[in-house]
């Protein structure tokens, strides 16, 4: 496995959102849905703020990226939903939307969250749409 990522997130770093839901992408139009990036509502004390779970995959080889998804997204789910694809985006594209990638090294040292989502529904919808438009879709073979 590749080296530990630095504590501070580099703007050029690749950020990966794994997708287990087949409706979250469209292979024909190479489209990632804004819903793939939207956070679930906050639920204190378990989830004090809105956050989108992502992985910092900069420096990882392709097979390593998929392995992280299999081991830490799919296998941790009660139904073990398979990872069908992923949306890759740069950390810079996320901060350009006034959102933050916050390292959160659990359940894996590469895990992080996209945070600072606005409370306003419209602003959140607009930011999620902008992220989805900048993301690159990768399908599982």
């Amino acid at each position: 496995m590749s080296d530990l990522p630095p504590q501070e997130v580099d703007p050029q770093e690749r950020i990966t959102r794994y997708m287990t839901n087949p409706d979250w992408f469209n292979a024909k139009t190479d489209h990632v849905s804004p819903q793939a990036f939207k956070p679930a509502p906050s639920k204190p004390p378990i989830r004090p703020t809105r956050r989108t779970s992502v992985y910092r995959t900069g420096g990882c080889q392709e097979h390593e990226i998929w392995t992280i998804g299999d081991e830490y997204v799919s296998k941790r789910h009660a139904q073990q939903l398979p990872v069908l694809g992923r949306a890759d985006i740069s950390a810079q594209a996320i901060t350009d939307e006034d959102l933050l990638v916050v390292p959160h090294p659990h359940p894996h040292y590469r895990h992080g969250n996209i945070e600072m989502w606005p409370e306003d529904d419209v602003q959140r919808q607009a930011k999620a749409l902008s992220l989805s438009r900048k993301a690159k879709l990768h399908l599982r073979n």
Partner: protein, 170 residues
């Protein structure tokens, strides 16, 4: 270039004091079911989307359906989507129905030119965002009881017309 203009039907909303929230929800479901049952059989794509909305709702009815922390999609959320689909003009191309981690079913249109319009019903609001190029984005909200906002319908007519209808009419 000609384009089909959206035809809009305003929903009828009756508010009666003294009715419980549950009664209002039940009335909302019954009202939609009544309208649905009285539609002409020719409504091909809408009928398919109604069925699809119910499938998406059922498939996403438990928390964490996305492999993360998603809220369950409730029956009320499915009905909100059905109501908006019912009011969507036939001149607009059918949307994709996408489950949202916030517990709603979103309607989305996208194409290979990365034009995206995303519409999400909320308990009292319709929320929407659109990007039709790197420079052009629009977003807004409107009361759900008013149905589809004109500005949004104009955008949909412009970028996502129902090709089958427009070519049949030209």
């Amino acid at each position: 270039m000609s384009r089909t203009l959206a035809i809009r039907t305003l929903p009828l909303q009756i508010i009666e004091p003294g009715l419980s929230q549950e009664s209002m929800k039940l009335r909302s479901v019954l009202s939609w079911a009544h309208d649905h049952a009285n539609e002409p059989l020719s409504l091909g794509w809408k009928r398919l989307l109604y069925d699809q909305a119910m499938v998406v709702g059922k498939r996403s009815s438990e928390a964490g359906w996305d492999g993360y922390d998603a809220e369950p999609i409730t029956r009320e959320a499915v009905v909100r989507t059905l109501q908006l689909l019912y009011l969507l003009p036939e001149s607009i191309s059918p949307p994709d129905l996408i489950p949202s981690p916030e517990g709603e079913i979103s309607m989305e249109w996208n194409d290979v030119r990365k034009r995206i319009i995303s519409v999400t019903p909320r308990p009292d609001l319709i929320i929407w965002a659109a990007m039709t190029s790197n420079e052009h984005s629009q977003y807004g909200k409107a009361p759900l009881s008013d149905g589809w906002p004109d500005s949004l319908l104009n955008l949909l007519s412009q970028y996502f017309p129902n090709v089958r209808l427009t070519s049949a009419g030209s």
